[in-house]
Symmetry: C2
Subunit: 204 residues, 2 copies
């Protein structure tokens, strides 16, 4: 069972190079020449693994989407300590949302949606949709525990996400300003405070 020299090695380096290039420059502005150079391979090799530039983008989006919601679980949070739990969720969520990789992949998908509508669906299901499920699950548990007064958990989860995203997400998509860590945490806390004003209960 001696492992054969991994044939995935070159493919991996190509994919990694494509990822760096696309995330840094977008789809249209990056040439296959540039990707090949960055990967330390020739264009011919590149085309041996991926039949077109479009397919290469698809592979990058799929992989990046997969990693999106990876580190975001709300399962272990205690619904009885709502404020602390919501703050923790908001922090993680916002940090993820504003990370350079996620912003970059968002930009590409939004910018190329006219040419590649399928990418958006892949991204949505792997990313935002999973996040919403996590949030909704937490809202349901908190509602049961009596610490949140929520009738429609799906709606509330969406509104929580929107409050956390705030203006800062769109600003980052537009490349306006650099968010420091303090601003990020402040935004998260403001979102939680307003959410609690709307849905909090006397239970503390």
């Amino acid at each position: 069972m001696a492992a054969p020299a991994a044939p995935t090695e070159k493919a991996e380096s190509i994919l990694a190079a494509a990822q760096r290039a696309f995330l840094a420059g977008g789809f249209g502005a990056v040439s296959m020449d540039a990707i090949a150079r960055e990967a330390g391979a020739s264009k011919a090799t590149l085309y041996a693994y991926f039949t077109s530039k479009e397919e290469l983008l698809g592979a990058v989006v799929a992989r990046q989407s997969e990693r999106y919601a990876e580190g975001l679980s709300a399962g272990e949070l205690d619904p009885r300590d709502v404020e602390a739990s919501l703050n923790a969720i908001a922090d993680r969520f916002l940090r993820l949302l504003l990370s350079p990789e996620v912003i970059a992949i968002n930009r590409i998908i939004i910018g190329e949606v006219a040419r590649f509508p399928a990418l958006a669906a892949i991204f949505w299901r792997a990313g935002p949709e999973r996040v919403r499920v996590q949030l909704e699950e937490f809202c349901r548990r908190a509602a049961t525990a009596g610490t949140l007064d929520i009738a429609d958990t799906r709606l509330a989860a969406g509104q929580f996400a929107s409050l956390v995203r705030g203006e800062i997400h769109l600003q980052q998509l537009l490349g306006l300003g650099e968010p420091d860590d303090a601003a990020l945490r402040a935004a998260a806390r403001n979102a939680v405070a307003t959410f609690l004003r709307a849905f909090g209960t006397a239970e503390k």
Copy 2:
């Protein structure tokens, strides 16, 4: 004082054609040939008015941004009838935000921000920033009238905008699903309801 044949006429038709083409297909996918054809002019004429494709995009974005917040004034709304006023604002705002032209221009700017960072700033100031000012002004008046319990009007205005934008805005940017008019109004009312749970007062 016989007026000379308006020299702006051709420029206008070129700009209009470029606008249609860019909004429909994005920046990279549209060629100068296509724009010239659509404008009923030759490429040479086109380059006589705009020195490059980039400059043409800049002109389109500037014009489109100008029209963004045009029909959105909250000045005439009565802060004493908060719910009705907020519903009216939310309706207008969401309708604007989800209009095909605004979605399209958003996509282009976001997708090309790596190449043209200046466009984003133009857009932001002419669009979202003006909207925020209108919202904040209304919040301030309602706070004075005692119909909203708001300490930080700037923050509250941003949160209102975020609630209204909701998930539906990002979904539209990603080209997922078609929002009918009923869904739009429902989204607006849900946003207002939550905002009022957070900031409403006993005053009705």
